[in-house]
């Protein structure tokens, strides 16, 4: 999401990196770029001003360290200030000492509250909780239906009373019901509303006081523009939220709204929601996000994702094989399947240090993986283990037929695979140049 902002800052800092002395002029130029980048990323105007001011003060200030060049110093300052703005570390879910833990979701229309309700329920269940959903959106047609369908998919009960009773009454009775049923994690979904609609905001306040939630989450679409600040302030006043869920993070919005809201309300982003699948929901890692904004790559997230999906030993064995050049199509297929489990390729690529910038014009098509997979599965075991066999055109023709590809596709794959084998072998010997942007060990 933040790639483009990262690119901008990288461009701004390109002139600074490696330069020996940081003149006042350079600082000015750099801060101007940072300012524009942040504005283009939809960070609120006031927030940008404050942020840029801090960076400028610190950069031109006396903090010249002997260990760092002035250029590195600015990178460090921007990174630190961004990290501070986004809040320090991830906020883990806490639970009420006397269950049930009651969560309430609030936000503007269309920002993804109902979907988030489902995702949060699943997330809580993975933490060993027994979730329960309460449907209080009595306004939007079929909103209750939507939550019920999500509940059915996840096998989580949904409390509804239709659209007649007031949302605060439904919410209160819903929580009671959950308590009686022994559920320990209740999520109250509310209707989307506009902050200038006084009646609706008052209603939100009433829902809040009737259920006395342990936590209120503001659900915010990452594409939100400059008005994020007013939105956040209004929801703070009426719902007193203690954290945010940032949604649609799988798009390409730069997400400056998140910076704005955190800065103005001093409430952290607690969760990140990306993707159409119910499982695509996680804690938000602000410290890492700052690194990602700067194009330094979200190494930590990538590692964690990989660890979740890959068997450690398997991965090590694969790695060794890879470097030795004895890598076969069989291994390739295994790897591809592991990668697929980690999520869409495009989102993974964004996390690899140094790749963010190079890939800005490259469109990554996840279907490519599917096509390659189809070709490999059409090979015999022997062919997978010994790719040289595939130089025989009749074999290539057979595979093309079996996988719905053209013969050229198959030949191209075999050729590329051969090159990859060579490259990997080279890398294993330490012959590859360092990937730009990768921190040296």
């Amino acid at each position: 999401m933040f790639e483009t902002l990262g690119e901008r800052l990288n461009t701004a800092l390109d002139g600074v990196r490696g330069s020996g002395n940081l003149t006042e002029d350079q600082v000015k130029k750099v801060t101007r770029e940072i300012r524009l980048a942040l504005l283009e990323a939809d960070v609120n105007y006031g927030v940008v001003k404050e942020f840029v001011g801090k960076v400028r003060d610190r950069a031109t200030g006396a903090e010249v360290s002997k260990a760092l060049s002035p250029g590195q110093q600015v990178v460090k300052i921007v990174n630190e200030e961004l990290a501070e703005l986004m809040g320090g570390t991830a906020h883990k879910l806490t639970f009420a000492s006397r269950p049930p833990t009651v969560m309430m979701l609030a936000g503007l229309n269309g920002h993804g509250k109902t979907t988030t309700a489902g995702k949060l329920a699943l997330f809580a269940r993975k933490l060993g909780k027994n979730p329960y959903l309460v449907a209080c959106d009595t306004y939007r047609p079929a909103a209750i239906d939507q939550l019920q369908q999500i509940g059915r998919e996840l096998n989580v009960p949904v409390y509804t009373e239709g659209t007649e009773p007031s949302p605060e009454d439904i919410a209160e009775r819903g929580v009671q019901k959950a308590k009686a049923g022994g559920y320990d994690f209740v999520i109250v979904d509310t209707a989307g509303r506009q902050v200038l609609d006084q009646d609706m905001m008052e209603e939100l306040k009433r829902v809040r006081s009737s259920v006395k939630p342990h936590s209120v989450l503001l659900v915010l679409d990452v594409v939100t523009g400059q008005n994020a600040v007013e939105v956040a302030q209004a929801f703070q006043e009426y719902a007193d939220f203690d954290g945010m869920v940032l949604t649609k993070l799988d798009g390409d919005a730069r997400g400056g709204a998140a910076l704005s809201v955190v800065s103005v309300t001093e409430r952290p982003v607690k969760f990140a929601s990306e993707g159409e699948k119910m499982s695509e929901f996680d804690y938000f890692y602000p410290d890492r996000m700052a690194g990602r904004i700067l194009g330094m790559g979200d190494v930590l997230t990538l590692i964690e994702k990989a660890e979740q999906q890959m068997d450690q030993q398997e991965a090590e064995a694969q790695g060794k094989k890879l470097m030795s050049g004895k890598f076969t199509f069989e291994d390739f297929l295994k790897q591809m399947q592991m990668i697929k489990k980690m999520g869409p390729l495009s989102s993974l690529m964004g996390m690899i240090p140094g790749l963010g910038k190079q890939l800005q014009n490259v469109q990554i098509d996840d279907r490519m993986l599917g096509r390659v997979e189809a070709m490999i599965t059409s090979m015999t075991l022997q062919e997978r283990r010994n790719p040289k066999l595939l130089q025989n055109p009749s074999r290539a023709r057979r595979i093309a037929r079996g996988s719905g590809a053209t013969q050229q596709d198959v030949q191209k794959l075999v050729k590329q695979f051969g090159e990859m084998q060579k490259m990997m072998k080279q890398m294993g010997k330490g012959g590859m140049p360092r990937i730009p942007g990768m921190p040296s060990r």
Partner: protein, 393 residues
């Protein structure tokens, strides 16, 4: 459930009460029966899992569906609501008045700030003044590029003409914005049937706007529930169908959107409706597989009815920041968007993204949506919009 029989409950909802009643029954029945087995393979979301806890727990739940479905009808078809809408239109200049009313309540509003800044204008050589205007425009979601262009033009003209009064400058600002925003707002609904494809990112208001369009468009309108992905999207469209008396062509959730569309076009041709509105699932413009699916839906329409779809309308949430530009560009490239509908202008939205889109993408904004009621859809008026952004409060 998705294909459950729908009846037009209250004929007073539409201008042609008999339209809903006569076309509805045959269309619905036919599709319900023949298409049950067809479930799209690309969707993995399980539907209708049996024996959930919720069923055991909540007997009241049974009544939800019917209560819930009648809700928008109350909201939209009540005569007094329509009347209220009319009086609002007459009393305060339509959506424009409403927008202003909202802005007045928010004292810190950008329009208010701009108003105050412009009131102090005396000298076109005052750099600080232009910087202030720049700031406010950026804070209105106009974006850095378009702001630079607009302020550059204004400054140049103000210097050339030696403008010294706030009133004069304000007129210039409105004029420049109007020129930027102007575009062909007319929709081509001359064909029978006219097919309109509704597209957009998740949560931008496609289904709601589709519902509102039934009342807005002339003639008999049919709806196609092409959002077969999101939970209850079909039900949401069906309740709009009930409220407005428009027949809805729908299949089960998880069906192939292109197949639903295919049937809907056939039904529209056979029944002789004037307009077919095809709702589609919300999708992020970055998801190539979902964009490809949308292209397929469009191809299906093209093949069945030469010249169709006659309009491809993109809903853009007015509170969106600069990502709105990307949305307009990417959807434009994929399915050739013919017009934009700016939604949720009743919030704290500045709507500055409209200027950015007009300047940088070049797709005309055709409609704006300013509220939750069925009558809250209006043709886009560049002059009014420019006035709302830059006119005197």
């Amino acid at each position: 459930m998705a294909t459950g029989e729908k009846q037009a409950l209250e004929p007073e909802a539409g201008e042609e009460p008999e339209a809903g009643a006569t076309t509805e029954a045959p269309v619905e029945e036919e599709f319900v029966v023949e298409e049950e087995s067809d479930v799209g393979e690309e969707f993995t979301t399980p539907e209708d899992l049996p024996g959930t806890v919720e069923e055991a727990l909540e007997p009241e739940e049974e009544v939800v569906a019917s209560e819930e479905l009648s809700e928008p009808e109350e909201e939209t078809a009540e005569p007094e609501l329509v009347a209220e809408e009319d009086s609002e239109d007459g009393g305060s200049g339509g959506w424009f008045g409403r927008l202003r009313h909202g802005l007045k309540r928010s004292r810190e509003s950008v329009v208010g700030q701009l108003n105050a800044a412009v009131a102090e204008f005396r000298d076109a050589e005052d750099e600080e003044f232009w910087e202030r205007v720049e700031e406010i425009l950026i804070a209105s979601d106009v974006g850095v590029t378009t702001t630079a262009k607009l302020v550059g033009e204004l400054e140049q003209e103000a210097l050339e003409k030696n403008v010294t009064s706030a009133g004069e400058l304000r007129k210039m600002m409105v004029e420049h914005a109007r020129r930027m925003l102007e575009g062909p707002v007319e929709m081509d609904v001359s064909n029978t049937p006219t097919v309109i494809l509704m597209v957009g990112v998740n949560g931008t208001g496609k289904t709601t706007t589709t519902g509102k369009l039934v009342k807005y468009l002339p003639g008999r309108v049919m709806l196609a529930a092409g959002d077969t992905f999101r939970a209850a999207a079909i039900e949401q469209l069906q309740s709009w169908g009930e409220a407005t008396g428009a027949p809805v062509v729908a299949r089960e959730r998880g069906s192939d959107a292109a197949a639903v569309t295919h049937e809907a076009v056939e039904a529209a041709k056979r029944d002789g409706v004037d307009v077919l509105l095809v709702d589609t699932a919300g999708r992020l413009h970055t998801k190539m597989n979902l964009m490809a699916e949308l292209e397929k839906v469009k191809r299906v329409v093209e093949r069945q009815l030469p010249g169709a779809p006659h309009e491809v309308l993109l809903t853009v949430d007015a509170t969106t920041g600069q990502n709105g530009l990307r949305q307009a560009k990417m959807f434009g490239e994929a399915v050739g968007v013919t017009g934009i509908i700016l939604t949720k202008l009743d919030g704290t939205a500045r709507g500055g993204i409209a200027l950015a889109i007009a300047n940088e993408v070049g797709v005309p904004i055709k409609l704006i949506s300013v509220g939750e009621k069925v009558g809250d859809l209006h043709p886009f008026d560049a002059d009014e919009f420019a006035q709302a952004l830059f006119g005197e409060l």
